[in-house]
Symmetry: C4
Subunit: 230 residues, 4 copies
């Protein structure tokens, strides 16, 4: 992939999460990863979204060293890089503080699968990470945030659970491309919104049965997929 | 009715549910039915709403066979067709995952009639279907979804209850035309929103009395209707 | 006042409640009253707001008889007229089914005064009417709705309480002009929204003390008013 | 600083809080302070925001006397002035009745720090003032409101807590400039929104641990700040 194309895709994903109302000020960032070259493209730190251009995007390697670009990368770069290193097949990552998903992260609750909207995209709950220890917080915080995510996925497939709630913080969401990561971030916010309203109406509600969950997830993913114009 | 007109009406209903905020990405579809020809027009599967044109609409017969169109029809087609077959007088059906109505569907609760906004359009609660069995889910899922709706209406009139919540899924709503179905989908979302706020303020609230419900519903429907410029 | 001016003011109030998000489809109407001529101007029944012009407004007398206009007046006309007859000094009335205020009406709860936003406009709770009897509902329903409002105000001053929640229905709100009535309708919706969030955060919260309520209400109303450029 | 520049900055802060949805009608005001000249610039009282120009801004001294301008200053001027006098380093103050923050103020609850969005801006809860006594309300109300804020900050640093909820009223928020004060007002509203959703999902949730709170606050503030392009 041409780096120029990836810069544009990452810019577009950053703009998409703003247009969809997931981002207040600079609370959010999208990145993209080109497996062939081993390069990551990410939003610069603290730059207002309405002034971003493709040339502002920062290019780094998998050691988080800047390869191209005059601006400092997002402070969450180290977390992004660890996820690209740890999870095969990721081409884009989005981090936001979107309101409804962040409320679940702050409440320290995973989002159970209450319906088919959720089941179409996550093959289980939207997971939440364990709290960091004081040592992890005082140490290499962004790296340790990434490691808390990786630990949470020890027995989970990142392709059937394309995102996570970092406890007391907010969602990290991914996909095969920056555009898919942005779409998944929008869906996590909507799933969070619906689930909060669901538990308010029925605090005893249980997750949907496995057969229904499988039916929906597998309709859109894997070799049996029947959805769309494919 | 000319098929060309129906295509345009179905396109317009699909666009209306997007404009009204009921649809995220491709989570929704509208169809129309022409009784004279026995043909159904429906949105294609997985095509973004902002690229839809009238010529993208798929035309099928009541056996769900495509009669015209190059695209695959919405995967919910079989559900739509069963409703057109089972309920007399339907000219349009809309399915969405709109946030507030889906929360009631996910909570597994019918929406009681708490006020006159609801009473103007539904002559009773907004019903919810029974859960599907594992066999129904593993089998012809979309057909069985339709049959769960039809079973729920065994003792209900689909014209005095122009919609239903499919449990753990979302609303299916209908009308005499695609435009009326879209309007009813918007109303079901608003009724769901108001009712959730009502039970939050008063968890013991009871449905309105029958006389008030009748007064409002019959003011807008049936031979005694007095509302509007008719 | 010229009737032409009042028509335009009533049109503008009808458009304002749409722009402010208080109205879905045709669920709302604004009227104005000219004391000198004894004439009422009101929105026609069931006409979409985006097609309204000043010349569509219907002019009636205080017996609810149409004096000018080709369209049928809003079915709520009789309620409006009774309020103009019963409460001195009203120049405009707005009725909506706005979401948050209607939720309180549906819950059958008056809105207690929890803060200064409320206190600036209502010198007490936003009252709620008693339920209508089956006889009142089966009889002259719109008139009986108006009479339920008038009974609720037997010991309340309509100028210090410029609106009411009709139980199981929605708010009727008024002012010295159609524009003020529309502004009060917007405020009632915001007061309802804030109050619902307040009781969710603190179910035991009590209304503000009388001294604070008086301080705010009397700052904006009556001979001691100090607010604005007066 | 040129007074002309400050007028424009204050106008812009007033417009920003409207664009961000924090203000209904005239429920809000922004001011700025020029330490060198000892002058305050504030929005005029009761003037609609869509008609404001820089020349409408009112200039006063720290005795709340108008120095320039034909309009009456906002009735909250005395509160603003007391804060400029009491807290070193303030260059802008914003007062609103924004919905979610006002709900916490009306509920009489401070907003605990449940996550990193909050921790990035407040080094502790968003505090709430004690109720005013009847005597304080009947006396110099706006001054006493300011004094309740100052008392609340006896053991708090206004630079690590750039805002407060005035009980039963709404937020006062500040910054080094009018623009920063407006940004903090937007953040307080979002923090309030997230926190309300958080306690709804988990009523027993505790504030985040001190180490995480410090890590985030100190990343953006003080000599160790690493965020942005600085």
């Amino acid at each position: 992939m041409l780096l120029k194309t990836l810069r544009e895709e990452v810019l577009e994903a950053n703009l998409e999460i703003v247009r969809r109302g997931l981002v207040l000020y600079t609370f959010g960032n999208a990145s993209g990863y080109d497996r062939a070259s081993g390069l990551v493209v990410i939003k610069p730190s603290g730059v207002p979204f309405d002034r971003l251009s493709a040339s502002d995007m920062v290019v780094t390697n998998l050691d988080s060293q800047v390869v191209e670009g005059d601006l400092r990368p997002s402070s969450d770069l180290v977390t992004h890089v660890l996820l690209y290193r740890s999870f095969d097949g990721l081409g884009g990552i989005v981090h936001t503080h979107s309101t409804a998903a962040t409320a679940w992260a702050q409440a320290g609750r995973e989002i159970p699968c209450f319906g088919t909207t959720h089941a179409d995209y996550f093959h289980g709950p939207v997971p939440v990470t364990a709290p960091l220890t004081d040592e992890e917080i005082a140490g290499d915080y962004e790296l340790n945030t990434g490691q808390a995510i990786v630990r949470r996925f020890e027995s989970l497939d990142p392709h059937s659970h394309p995102g996570v709630l970092v406890r007391s913080h907010g969602p990290f969401v991914w996909g095969r491309t920056p555009a898919e990561a942005a779409m998944h971030a929008v869906l996590v916010e909507e799933i969070a919104r619906m689930a909060a309203r669901t538990v308010a109406l029925n605090p005893q509600i249980q997750p949907i049965r496995r057969s229904l969950h499988d039916r929906h997830f597998l309709r859109k993913h894997g070799p049996q997929a029947t959805y769309g114009q494919g």
